[in-house]
Symmetry: C2
Subunit: 305 residues, 2 copies
């Protein structure tokens, strides 16, 4: 299985357009040791031929161009066989509207995430210009489904959705009842049985998540915030990490501590917010995650399982 | 007046994600003389301090980062004082949803364009998270309005909308009656009286447009297609330029011929489609537009009037 990080940042990217925080300002001035990152999208392939996008951020066009394996091989073509959504947040989904150039798309999502993007979204009609422009395939918790081809006999990648503690996307907050399909992780396996546990967004860690992660060949996990009050303390935003359904990395109840006992060969934090100190390559927090065997994902990073 | 081309391409950009046409494929392989371009957004300033975005394409985040004058100057700040929309097409507007990080925005548009983006668009709620997140100001044909400050005494730039032959955006085709507010150009002036005529999209040239363009210090004009059948001939799409409300550049009825008699100091084609031969720096068509005094806009190009 090939894993390519097309974008490793949380919503807004790094740096964020309206943010002059020490990380963003320092990156622009060249005074902090850090690399820019675009919003989270990950490409997966089981056969080095057909590719699956794990989510589809607003910067998808530049991300596709950054990776030759995703370039078209004919006058009208794309090696992107499917797009798998783990939630309905715009930083994970808005790029779908940038893939509107008259091309058939296959999108996998829970029914809740599909409805959240399609229902009452007039802009979505740009993806309804011809019959079959978008084929939605349904993710159901616990049911394995082929990813890169609907026919299991032809697919090279398969995914089993795992519900994660989440919340509706901002544009649906207070408008839809909470359910366990708002956000999922995916256990992706290839034919030889290698296994990626992908949880790019997670508001907590359940027993089912721990079972999915234990023994995986690779783990991709929500690295949005280091601490609960990362936005509130510098008065950037009046919300805690928990309000935004992101389990912080640090602290006694953070992901670093809660996942420490699980054996996983490769562990990557993705969806990293511009304020997170792990972005600074010489920070104490960066040293701590690396000492614990984690990698802070960067745009362009590739892993072969 | 300062004019910075943040993106010069039409919808889909150059190269386009699913396109392996001679231009796109050649650019990727390095076998044609051409430069990549992101989707059309232009920054204007009358005082080198406050900036106005002329449209807001999907790649706005990278475009802002590409131009230090648009970087924040405090922990939460943006020098972008306003965003002026000339139509509702997603390649001109989708970037608004990428400016959702809790920041007050001022957007100028005709009532038709505002409705086309806001009405029935559930995603837009991400820009309604606090009172005053977006302040809409109205463009009315023929009425000059200050751009970078609602108070004319404090503004450095002023714009007069001019209706252009257009059509509703794809997501509203067949759903809204045609009217002369679907697409506009803007005559932008600064305090010393320098004048930019900006028509990034135009399905034809009216007498009012000619009057707006004549004698301008700079003209920005729709350079989407060279010919009417640029998409249909290679069977990329079953539409003519006219169907998409873009006057082609070439031919006896093209913009090159129709605008030849108007005196304008600087003339730029923008919104250039990936199929347009003027993208190739050694093409006969490129030579023709340059011989006629036109510049083919590129990302990063700057003009001071």
């Amino acid at each position: 299985m090939l894993i390519r990080i097309l974008g490793a940042a949380a919503g807004g990217g790094f740096p964020q357009w309206n943010c002059g925080c020490p990380n963003c300002g320092g990156l622009r001035r060249g005074t902090v040791r850090a690399k820019p990152r675009s919003q989270v999208t990950i490409a997966l392939s089981g056969d080095a031929d057909r590719w699956v996008l794990l989510n589809c951020g607003p910067e998808i066009r530049a991300q596709i161009e950054s990776f030759p394996a995703l370039w078209p091989r004919a006058a009208r073509h794309s090696p992107i066989a499917a797009i798998a959504l783990t939630c309905g947040d715009l930083d994970h989904t808005l790029g779908l509207l940038s893939l509107r150039e008259n091309h058939p798309l296959t999108v996998l999502a829970t029914e809740t995430v599909r409805q959240g993007f399609v229902d009452g979204n007039a802009l979505y009609r740009t993806l309804e210009r011809f019959p079959g422009q978008v084929t939605w395939r349904r993710f159901v918790a616990g049911l394995e489904t082929p990813l890169d081809d609907p026919d299991p006999a032809r697919a090279a990648l398969f995914a089993t959705p795992v519900p994660v503690p989440g919340k509706p996307p901002v544009h649906l907050e207070g408008r839809v009842p909470p359910n366990d399909e708002q956000a999922i992780g995916l256990v992706v396996r290839d034919r030889p049985g290698r296994r990626l546990a992908a949880f790019p967004g997670a508001g907590g860690i359940t027993a089912a998540m721990r079972a999915a992660i234990a023994g995986a060949d690779a783990l991709i996990f929500d690295g949005t915030f280091w601490s609960e009050d990362e936005l509130a303390r510098p008065k950037l935003m009046d919300k805690r990490a928990a309000d935004m359904a992101h389990l912080p990395i640090g602290g006694p109840d953070g992901s670093l501590a809660l996942l420490a006992d699980l054996a996983v060969t490769r562990k990557l934090f993705v969806h990293i917010n511009n304020t997170n100190p792990i972005l600074r390559e010489d920070s104490a927090e960066r040293a701590r995650v690396e000492a614990a065997g984690w990698t802070v994902a960067e745009d362009g990073m590739e892993i072969a399982l």
